[in-house]
């Protein structure tokens, strides 16, 4: 018995040392990313301050962009969304709406609102998607194309749109995403600066809950008053202003949000488009682009641009958020497993040797290890082997440093584009940075473990995103 007790103590001690070492390394990585992000943000802010002295809309050199909008049962919002997208400021724009086998009146609403007529001609080439049942052109808007196809999921719908556009660039957007009027002019910048090498760019996604939206434009930026969406504002700021900017600094961006990303159409077609058997198609496509272009020995860049903004409504209930996050986690594991050949592989440059391994360590294993920590601590206390020093260091490294990194993200927001321009909102954001460490963070580790189990069980469902809709000025009047 004495030996068993000794072994337990040793096991706890070894686990404790492993967890502390892990956190020191991962937090050091995050700190480096955040510092790199500051330099990148400084350059971006400087670049954004240059008001280029030419008339964009009379220049013949802007590459055409197709907004590819998958729509599944979006009857309630599709007309307003498409109308808003048709109004975006960009010299050469096409909007390709792909009705992905909706069972509601999505297609009928589009036909009526935009005076759509079905084309008699069949698509004259193979499209890697479920059967296309019809294509529609508008007699009002030359730039609108609607594709009606059998249900095949988001990736499938995106592929249909990508294959049916002739535009050199396409922007993958969710139909419920609100895009700032000038966002396309901003997100396209890397393609304008380095047209030969840029293959993908991503912009910032912000939380639209409680913002005032009129005619598809965010008129007033408000911070959600309720805790859950507020915590997600904090998360999004940290992810975009720190993580992605930092990775961008070293040309190691491996994720562009599926809600708003711009891609070179021909290159995405070359890799076969989006994979159908993945539930996080946005992560998968970027990793595959890195892999393909490196294998082909082509010079390329994947860029993050912090200025253009798209707005999305985030889940406001634990149930829906849990479902979303489990799906994200499952998709991440699945993409990592699929592309495991890149891990520690020097032929993929720094993406293979540093960024992808750190991503896996921090994003995939991080919540699992942290979750274990939350189990080990009470167990160690129960067995009377809890080391108070270990507990304090664990707390400082997870919670203290976590708050510091979150506040770094808020600082970047204030210092750069300052959309939350009221100090009271900033104070609330900082408070969310503290609050998320007590309950929310621990809940996310549980969700990660659930996601992992779902992955092993082969769960591949998307789940339904329930939305409450945006506020408008009229709502306030009412």
């Amino acid at each position: 018995m004495h030996t068993t007790a000794h072994l337990v103590v040793q096991l706890f001690a070894a686990t404790g040392i492993f967890v502390l070492a892990y956190y020191l390394i991962v937090n050091g990585y995050y700190l480096c990313l955040h510092i790199l992000a500051l330099f990148e943000l400084r350059d971006n802010v400087r670049e954004a301050s240059w008001d280029q002295p030419f008339r964009r809309f009379s220049s013949p050199f802007y590459p055409g962009i197709a907004l590819v909008v998958p729509a599944y049962n979006e009857a309630a919002t599709i007309e307003e969304s498409v109308q808003s997208m048709l109004s975006l400021n960009y010299p050469e724009l096409e909007v390709v709406v792909v009705n992905d086998g909706s069972t509601d009146e999505t297609l009928e609403k589009l036909i009526e609102r935009f005076s759509l007529k079905a084309l008699e001609a069949e698509v004259p080439f193979e499209v890697p998607s479920e059967e296309i049942q019809g294509t529609y052109r508008s007699t009002k808007y030359e730039e609108l194309l609607v594709v009606d196809k059998k249900n095949g999921g988001k990736s499938d719908a995106l592929n249909a749109g990508i294959w049916l556009t002739e535009m050199p660039l396409f922007c993958a957007v969710d139909s419920d995403t609100i895009i700032d009027r000038d966002a396309l002019l901003q997100i396209v910048k890397p393609f304008l600066e380095r047209p030969g090498t840029t293959v993908a760019t991503g912009g910032v996604i912000r939380v639209a809950n409680e913002c005032t939206v009129e005619d598809g434009i965010v008129k007033e930026v408000n911070l959600p008053k309720t805790g859950l969406p507020g915590l997600q504002v904090m998360e999004y700021l940290r992810a975009f202003y720190s993580g992605r900017l930092g990775l961008n600094r070293i040309n190691g961006l491996i994720l562009i949000s599926g809600a708003f990303g711009l891609f070179r159409t021909d290159v995405v077609r070359e890799i076969g488009g989006y994979r159908h058997d993945t539930i996080t198609e946005d992560f998968d496509i970027i990793v595959r682009l890195h892999r393909y272009l490196t294998d082909e020995e082509r010079e390329y860049s994947v860029d993050f641009v912090p200025e253009p903004v798209a707005w999305t409504e985030v889940p406001s209930s634990w149930r829906v958020l849990g479902r979303q996050r489990r799906r994200w986690y499952r998709g991440m594991v699945e993409t990592v497993v699929t592309n495991r050949g890149m891990l520690f592989n020097p032929s993929y440059g720094r993406v293979g040797t540093i960024i992808f391994p750190f991503f896996v360590a921090a994003e995939m294993f991080g919540p699992l290890i942290e979750g274990l920590g939350y189990i080990i601590l009470p167990l160690a206390w129960y067995f009377g082997v809890l080391n108070i020093e270990f507990f304090v260091v664990f707390f400082l490294l997870t919670t203290g440093f976590g708050i510091f990194l979150s506040w770094f993200g808020v600082f970047s927001e204030v210092w750069s584009f300052n959309r939350y321009n009221d100090p009271k909102q900033i104070l609330r954001l900082l408070w969310y940075g503290i609050l998320e460490n007590f309950g929310y963070r621990q809940w996310k580790t549980l969700v990660a473990w659930q996601g992992l189990f779902e992955y092993f069980r082969g769960v591949d469902s998307w789940g339904v995103m329930e939305r409450g809709g945006f506020s408008s000025a009229n709502d306030e009047d009412d």
Partner: protein
Amino acid sequence: MQGSVTMGSYIVPITTILIVIGLLVGIGLLVSFALTMGLSVYYKEGATQRDKVRSDVQNTLLSRAFSPEPEWNDWVTELSDTERTVAIDSLAEYLRELDGSEADSLKMLGKELDVPERAKKALERGHTYERLQALTWLIRLETPEPYYAASYEPTTQAERAAVARLLFQTGQLERAENGIELMLEGATGEFSVFGQDTLYRLAREAPDAMFAIGADWYQNWSAPLLAQVLLICGQLGTGVRTADISWLTASLEADDEGVRAAAARALGSFGWRPELRDSMFLARATDDPSPRVRGAVYEMLGSWGDNEGATVLLYALISEDDPRALVRGTNALVQRQEHVGESGPAILGAAWDWSAEHASYDSVARGRTRSTGT
């Protein structure tokens, strides 16, 4: 875990390590909190001050701009620092929107606000984007003097483009050709869209010079830069009468498919030149191994707009095996369907039907847009 950690010859108590980590995290938190809140309050205060005066400043600015005697000097001397900042911001906005005598009046205001002097300082001391913004101001104010007065040489392609634009728009270039040379001499990398647009504006003034410079230098350029210059040449249209286009046809044989595609697009405006009508040349172009290039060649043939071009295009499409290149070809051909016999659509089948139906909807929507003015 023991009560202390051995670091070389030192024994450091765990408590000390904890206190250090705690202090580091605490100081980090304190500093980031103070910086974030301080900056937020500072920005908010500045924005509030500017918002308070914005309406008055803008109203006065506009009323004076439309007055025959704006007397800017009297007004500017009365402005506070905040009002001056708002005036400069508003000036940038209005200079983008206004033309004619009002714009001329606003340019005078810019000088009274010492914008040219600030631009000169930025050219001498600023980072690259401050220098570019300074050049933007000088372009908007049409004031090249600070550029000449400053000890400054453009260092990047973007700056060279901005300088070329400044000299071009202020009539400082003896010939547009000088601006083209300024931008292209020694250039290796790609231009941004601003650079491309500037080169295009210069080349429109001196298209023959553009082609002559291209003929002399094209072999020194990187593939992306050559592709950009070719795209610009393609935009110059039929204004080019006697220029040497041999480097365009030579570029159709380049290794880089982007260059070949751009060359094909550039040659779309030169269908009347006899050297392009050579059957061997056309056969090589339509047999290009890259579907992307063949698609561009089909568009070139379509844009020639005559029977011969349409016939060559039709025959090339009959043997086209890439469905996407085929559709690009039929898209080009339906624009010239008056030159296509009755058998053409039947031979091209589904691709023709697809292109023809899209073309008809394009014209319906365009007609509607024109008639409604939307």
